[in-house]
């Protein structure tokens, strides 16, 4: 167990190092000259040179790379070129928006997706199964931005024009300010992210439930005289959940790095919106910081998933 963890963490660190290096190379070999862009069009060559000096861009590439890695290792991601705030502060200001969005959305998609999957696996080829499978396929094929825009136009704009302001169209209210306002501002983004993602879980749960329910131990459980409900939920679902857990870990890890599309459609000031603005501004330190953070989330999620695997399914041995 310990050896497994040590190996996975080492691998995670290597992945992070590769990501950091790739991002660094990408940006420092990029054709555009940051100092010139920042100085503006009318700047004199000496101003450009001064900016270059301030940012340390005139040092040898390897020195820059070394100091970049060393600082990143100590949790210092540098300062944003645009508003001179440290990247860590920028991230700290926005991360709660993304966490709120992902946590709420994840709760909805898990209940909705797994629930629908169980319902359709109980009676395969029944009407309920066909309806659920069909809906799941529809939402699975639906691009997130399109569903988000549809919600925005129909449930915010149309209702707003009709005089009903049930769902705000954009913005964010922190949990500390008002719990009701927080939920009200997030409900449409939650639904968007949840419906698009839940479809995968429905398909996954259905397939794995159908497989599990045909196993011998399920027959044994039935023969013991357990209620069908108990057999399905306690014996069937628990074993069927393993692939779902994997998917869940990876989805949450990926989204925590920025639910880019949803945040942009609903104007939520989270990490996903930050990455788009920093890309439009060519704000390198912020972009690098966000890519590193996003990769870290995915790497950690992968380790947690492998770990949970063994907890959920006693047959899995960690080596």
């Amino acid at each position: 167990m310990l050896r497994f963890l040590a190996r996975r963490i080492t691998f995670g660190v290597i992945v992070m190092w590769i990501v950091a290096t790739v991002v660094f190379v990408l940006y420092f070999l990029a054709p555009n000259d940051v100092a010139r862009t920042l100085a503006g069009r009318e700047a004199s060559p000496s101003t450009v040179e001064a900016i270059r000096h301030n940012l340390g861009l005139n040092r040898p590439l390897l020195t820059q790379y070394g100091s970049f890695l060393w600082k990143a290792l100590h949790g210092n991601l540098g300062y944003s070129y645009i508003n001179s705030v440290s990247v860590v502060t920028l991230i700290a200001q926005r991360i709660w928006v993304t966490i709120s969005l992902v946590a709420g959305g994840a709760a909805i998609w898990l209940v909705l997706g797994v629930g629908a999957g169980v319902v359709s696996a109980i009676r395969p080829r029944s009407f309920a199964d066909r309806a659920t499978t069909g809906l799941a396929l529809f939402f699975y094929s639906m691009p997130t931005f399109l569903l988000g825009e549809a919600f925005l136009l129909l449930l915010f704009f149309e209702l707003h024009l009709a005089g009903l302001n049930w769902f705000p169209g954009s913005g964010y209210v922190s949990l500390a300010q008002s719990v009701g306002g927080w939920a009200r501002h997030l409900i449409l983004p939650w639904l968007t992210i949840a419906l698009v993602t839940a479809a995968t879980y429905t398909r996954l749960t259905r397939t794995s439930m159908l497989e599990v329910m045909g196993e011998d131990y399920i027959r044994t459980a039935r023969a013991k005289g357990l209620t069908e409900r108990r057999v399905t939920l306690r014996h069937g679902l628990r074993a069927a959940l393993t692939p779902v857990v994997t998917q869940f870990g990876i989805d949450v890890g990926t989204l925590l790095g920025g639910a880019i599309v949803t945040e942009n459609v609903f104007g939520l000031p989270g990490l996903g919106q930050l990455i788009i603005t920093s890309i439009l501004d060519q704000d390198l330190p912020t972009i690098i910081g966000l890519v590193l953070l996003a990769s870290a989330f995915v790497v950690v999620a992968n380790i947690v998933v492998d770990f949970l695997y063994a907890v959920l399914d006693p047959r899995v041995r960690l080596t």
Partner: protein, 317 residues
């Protein structure tokens, strides 16, 4: 059956004639079985037809544009816009109405299909080729090659896809080529993993040993003996990869970092259309519909192909 053989068989048949020679039984390979199942599957036929129609529209888009006389970027200031400058709705001259600049939405939608299908097919094709070659090499060669290639796939699979893609596009600038390259780069690893897993079990089979004892080289064993056996899951995966690539291209274009206007794609049309949805529903509806219908059709077809190859029968899903 020759005359002679029939005569020879004659006396053996029991006089009562109860036993009928079973002529219908013939061996069928998994490909024939799958094909037979697919041909009976209404969903598979329906979705293939939809894809065929979209593909034809995409291929013949320039021809259709010439027949109608509307170019994809031509702005019909007088006929395509009302005197107040508002887009006109669907009519016999503009099947899907016009957009905010008075361009023909129908023509732009079929031109958009070219981009979507091109990205979908080429990106998945590249991902499949690279994934199959790497997966075969990792699974068959084993040892150091397997370790290196598997770790490489692990690294790529643990990168946050969209964030990384966006960061990359921001450096090199948005274009069709980079969109395809990014999608292919991030998709091949999952193909590689599937193929590697299959190869690990197939390479232990007797026919591989037989081939080796006949003197076949590694390359021949990999590509002639093993490859045909991993094609079925690969084809299924390819069909399901295409809609993912199409959605990804649309998303990038919608965010303004994919294919840039005026080249029409469903994604950038939708992004242009959103502010006009109340005055011109058709401007939003038709590109949106095209996108959803295409992805649903590919996903349905992918599911059908998977079921057709499933040895447990045609109705497991």
């Amino acid at each position: 059956m020759s005359q002679l053989a029939a005569e020879l068989l004659e006396p053996i048949t029991p006089p009562s004639g109860q036993v009928v020679a079973s002529e219908a039984i013939q061996g069928r390979g998994p490909w024939q079985l799958a094909w037979a199942r697919l041909r009976r599957d209404k969903v598979a036929i329906g979705s293939s037809l939809v894809i065929a129609v979209i593909a034809l529209a995409a291929i013949f888009a320039p021809l259709i544009a010439r027949l109608i006389g509307h170019g994809p970027d031509t702005q019909f200031q007088s006929t395509g816009l009302s005197p107040q400058g508002i887009p006109v709705g669907p009519s016999t001259s503009f099947f899907f109405g016009t957009d905010d600049l008075g361009r023909d939405v129908f023509i732009r939608v079929i031109y958009g299909a070219r981009i979507s299908l091109l990205v979908g097919v080429i990106a998945s094709g590249m991902a499949i080729i690279v994934g199959v070659v790497v997966g075969l090499a990792a699974g068959y060669l084993g040892r150091a090659a397997d370790t290196v290639l598997s770790r490489l796939m692990d690294v790529i699979l643990s990168l946050p896809f969209l964030v990384f893609a966006i960061a990359l596009v921001s450096v090199v600038g948005p274009s069709l080529t980079i969109t395809v390259a990014v999608i292919a780069f991030f998709s091949w690893a999952s193909v590689g993993r599937i193929v590697r897993g299959q190869v690990l079990s197939i390479k232990e089979k007797e026919f591989v040993e037989a081939a080796r004892s006949l003197g076949a080289g590694d390359l021949r064993i990999m590509f002639v003996e093993i490859l045909p056996n991993v094609l079925a899951p690969t084809i299924v995966y390819a069909t399901l990869l295409i809609p993912l690539a199409i959605v990804f291209e649309a998303t990038l274009s919608f965010l303004g970092i994919g294919v840039i206007p005026p080249t029409p794609t469903w994604g950038n049309m939708l992004s242009e259309a959103m502010p006009f949805y109340r005055v011109a529903w058709w401007f939003v509806a038709f590109p949106g519909l095209a996108l959803v219908v295409t992805t649903v059709a590919f996903n349905l077809l992918g599911d059908s192909i998977r079921d057709a190859f499933d040895p447990r029968g045609s109705r497991s899903s």
